[in-house]
C-alpha cells in the first residue's frame, strides 16, 4: 500500500527555474525522507526531516514538513538538466519506508 501521494505527478520546467514537489501522507510519522531516482535505477537519498523539524536545507534543496497538515514539500532551486529524475517521498514507520508514486521532473536546457 502507498501512504504518500506526490503532487504533481509530472513537472516540466526550464533550466534555472525552481521546482516544487509536494507530498501528503496519512498516518503519524517518525521522519520523512526524499529520494531521487534516475531512469529506473537505484534510489539516491536526498534529505531526511524528523517529525519535530519544520524545515531543512541541503545545497539547492529545501524541505519543509507540516505534521498538522500531514504534508511535506521539496524545493529545488536553480534547477539544472541533471536534476531530471523521479522524486519520491517516503515516510518512516518504525524502519519501514512507505513510498508515494513519485513526481517525474523534467528540466529542459
Amino acid at each position: 500500500s502507498q501512504q504518500g501521494e506526490e503532487d504533481p505527478q509530472a513537472l516540466s520546467i526550464q533550466e534555472g527555474e525552481n521546482a516544487t514537489m509536494n507530498c501528503s501522507y496519512k498516518t503519524s510519522i517518525n521522519n520523512l525522507q526524499w529520494y531521487r531516482q534516475n531512469s529506473g535505477r537505484g534510489l539516491v537519498h536526498l534529505i531526511l526531516i524528523r517529525s519535530n523539524e519544520r524545515e531543512k536545507h541541503s545545497g539547492r534543496l529545501r524541505v519543509t514538513l507540516d505534521t498538522s497538515k500531514k504534508s511535506s514539500s521539496l524545493l529545488i532551486t536553480a534547477s539544472r538538466a541533471a536534476d531530471t529524475a523521479s522524486y519520491f517521498c517516503a515516510t518512516d514507520e518504525g524502519g519501514k519506508l512507505i513510498f508515494g508514486q513519485g513526481t517525474e521532473l523534467s528540466v529542459k536546457p
Binding site: 517518525n30 529506473g40 537505484g42 539516491v44 524528523r50 518512516d92 524502519g95 519501514k96 519506508l97 513510498f99
Partner: protein, 114 residues
C-alpha cells in the same frame, strides 16, 4: 567506502522458476531491507532483516523469503515466479533496524519473468 551492492543487475526467468537475489550492505550497516518497484510505481516494502532475523514484513506472499548472513549480507528468494513478479528489486541498508536512520539503496536487480 563501498556503498550498497546488488547482484545480478539483470535477470530473465520463466514462470514457475525460482530466483535468488543478493545484497551487500554499506560498511558499518547491520540492517537490510528489500523493496519491489513495479514500472511507474513507487517502491513497496517486502521485508527487513536485522540480527539475522526477519524483523518486519510487508504485504507479500510466502513465496518471497529471505535470509541474512553473519556478515550482514542478505538474499531475497522468490519461488514459483509469476509474470507479475517482474520488477526492479531494491535493497537498502541502514543501522539499528533503520529506525530514524537514513536507508541507502543499491542499484537494484531488474527481474523479467516470461
Amino acid at each position: 567506502d563501498a556503498g550498497v551492492t546488488q547482484s545480478p543487475t539483470h535477470l530473465i526467468k520463466t514462470r514457475g522458476q525460482q530466483v535468488t537475489l543478493r545484497c551487500s550492505p554499506k560498511s558499518g550497516h547491520d540492517t537490510v531491507s528489500w523493496y519491489q518497484q513495479a514500472l511507474g510505481q513507487g517502491p513497496q516494502f517486502i521485508f527487513q532483516y536485522y540480527e539475522e532475523e526477519e524483523r518486519q514484513r510487508g504485504n507479500f506472499p510466502d513465496r518471497f523469503s529471505g535470509h541474512q548472513f553473519p556478515n550482514y549480507s542478505s538474499e531475497l528468494n522468490v519461488n514459483a515466479l509469476l509474470l507479475g513478479d517482474s520488477a526492479l528489486y531494491l535493497c537498502a541498508s541502514s543501522r539499528l533496524a533503520g529506525f530514524q536512520e537514513t536507508q541507502y539503496f543499491g542499484p537494484g536487480t531488474r527481474l523479467l519473468v516470461l
